[in-house]
């Protein structure tokens, strides 16, 4: 199930839910039935200054915004009492006009807020998408016949080389990487359902192979493809397939395809 939001709204937002200065001022106008444009011929400025002076100082930043508005109010009011300057640029709004416009605009948004509140839908539920974000299909592109031939030739050469070797030599190189081992192990576990750790080695095993196999086993356990239990101290480890949690496919595909990087 998914909530309407990834984040539920059950967060304490009220901490910062105190009204901002302009809201306090608009509320005073509403209560006093004073039109915004009549604000300076009313006692709203005095009311507001009284309000600010009695504010409990919780938060200096907040207080300073109240004080800023108070000083703006005082300045505009004192200007409005003075005779108006004769010359005002046609295109320039007066500070007072600018203030009124802003108040009127904010008032409008406050009204819309109430209308939005009526439309707010709580407790919507959606379904999780069937495909998770990390699931994907692999599309093979860039089919190149030359690469196919090169890959094949390298195999041929290797085979010819093998042919020339009179006696098979012991190959010191590790016979499989951890990544290959993971894929082999998964195949084995899927096929046999239960596999014993000791049975994963042939007679001529090397230390490195045990390490690689063990690392592969750890990765498989991490991927939850299988579960493992040890039969007593130093005993064999039984690896049991856990089909319900096995989601290795896409990752393994990726691993297998990643080795394309070394090939050009």
């Amino acid at each position: 199930m998914s909530f309407g939001n990834e984040e539920s709204f059950d967060v304490n937002c009220d901490v910062f839910d105190d009204p901002v200065p302009i809201e306090v001022l608009l509320e005073m106008c509403r209560k006093g039935k004073v039109d915004i444009r009549d604000i300076f011929v009313s006692d709203i400025t005095d009311q507001y200054i009284k309000y600010v002076s009695e504010l409990e100082v919780k938060d200096y930043d907040n207080i300073s915004s109240f004080i800023l508005l108070a000083s703006t109010l005082l300045e505009l009011k004192s200007n409005s009492l003075l005779p108006k300057p004769v010359e005002v640029d046609e295109n320039e709004l007066s500070d007072q006009e600018r203030f009124f416009l802003k108040m009127e605009e904010y008032k409008l948004y406050m009204e819309q807020t109430d209308k939005l509140r009526n439309r707010e839908i709580l407790n919507r539920f959606y379904r999780e998408p069937v495909f998770a974000e990390d699931e994907y299909r692999i599309i093979i592109k860039n089919f190149d016949i030359d690469k196919l031939i090169t890959a094949f030739s390298s195999l041929l050469e290797k085979a010819e080389f093998e042919e020339k070797q009179e006696e098979p030599k012991k190959i010191a190189k590790e016979r499989f990487t951890v990544a290959e081992r993971i894929i082999e192990l998964i195949e084995a576990i899927r096929a046999f359902k239960v596999v014993n750790f000791f049975s994963l080695f042939e007679k001529d095993y090397t230390k490195l192979e045990i390490i690689n196999t063990f690392l592969a086993l750890l990765e498989i356990l991490k991927q939850q493809v299988a579960a493992a239990e040890q039969n007593g101290f130093c005993g064999d480890i039984t690896i049991r397939y856990t089909p319900l949690t096995d989601n290795f496919d896409t990752k393994a595909e990726e691993d297998l395809l990643v080795d394309a990087n070394g090939y050009h």
């Binding site: 709004l93 406050m110 707010e120 709580l122």
Partner: protein, 234 residues
């Protein structure tokens, strides 16, 4: 049947699916007209008092539980019920909805107070998103409401907002005048979407950007807001 296929698709998708996405995937077998007809039929049948309803927003469709049963569902399936948005969040959301695209600084100028916290909360709730940067000094981030916003308020598009046309007219013809710095009207703004990473989690990217932006803007800010840190959300 096409309606069955679309029903299955919308159900599996979980997210909203636009009719153009639908068309793109089905065009080999069906015409646009057929798809549109099937959508209408489906919307018709998932409506009314049913438990599952098909909602439409921004020309996208999504299945949702009927809000009428929201209470009983959260009682049975959730630990908590969803609470209403706080007044402050709703207030700023209203400003963004009607004035978008809008920068944080413009919101702050209007509100007369620092709005980092509110914007972060709205981003976190997925109700707004960063849609680009304003082509002006400092390239501040422009915010707009998201699809989640439309869904939460049951709107098919922003134009369904209460008094939308009227308000837009007023904003353009009256209120934008006091904004000396707003060189262009909001709706006609040049938005530079290039360096906003649209693929990554927008909210996070934007939230991270807020920090950078703030550092840049510090010089222009009034003293009392200088060095203001982002408020911790607990």
């Amino acid at each position: 049947m096409l309606t069955d296929i679309i029903e299955a698709l919308l159900f599996a998708s979980g997210k909203g699916m636009s009719s153009s996405e639908m068309y793109e995937g089905l065009k080999h077998s069906y015409t646009k007209l057929e798809i549109e007809k099937a959508m209408r039929e489906l919307k018709e049948s998932y409506s009314g008092g049913r438990g599952i309803i098909l909602i439409e927003f921004n020309d996208s469709y999504q299945f949702q539980t009927n809000p009428d049963y929201g209470g009983i569902i959260s009682d049975m399936l959730m630990k908590t019920k969803e609470r209403e948005l706080s007044k402050t969040l709703l207030q700023v959301l209203a400003i963004i909805a009607y004035k978008s695209p809008i920068t944080k600084q413009e919101i702050e100028e209007l509100r007369g107070t620092n709005s980092d916290y509110v914007i972060q909360m709205l981003l976190k709730f997925n109700l707004i998103e960063a849609i680009g940067r304003k082509e002006t000094l400092g390239h501040p981030i422009l915010y707009a409401t998201s699809e989640e916003f439309l869904k939460k308020f049951g709107l098919t598009s922003l134009s369904e907002l209460p008094d939308y046309e009227e308000l837009l007219y007023k904003i353009k013809n009256n209120f934008d005048k006091y904004f000396q710095k707003s060189d262009e009207l909001y709706r006609n703004r040049v938005i530079d979407t290039e360096d906003t990473n649209q693929d990554n989690d927008r909210a996070e990217a934007a939230a991270a950007d807020i920090d950078c932006e703030e550092t840049q803007e510090d010089d222009d800010m009034p003293d009392f807001l200088l060095g203001e840190d982002v408020i911790e959300v607990d």
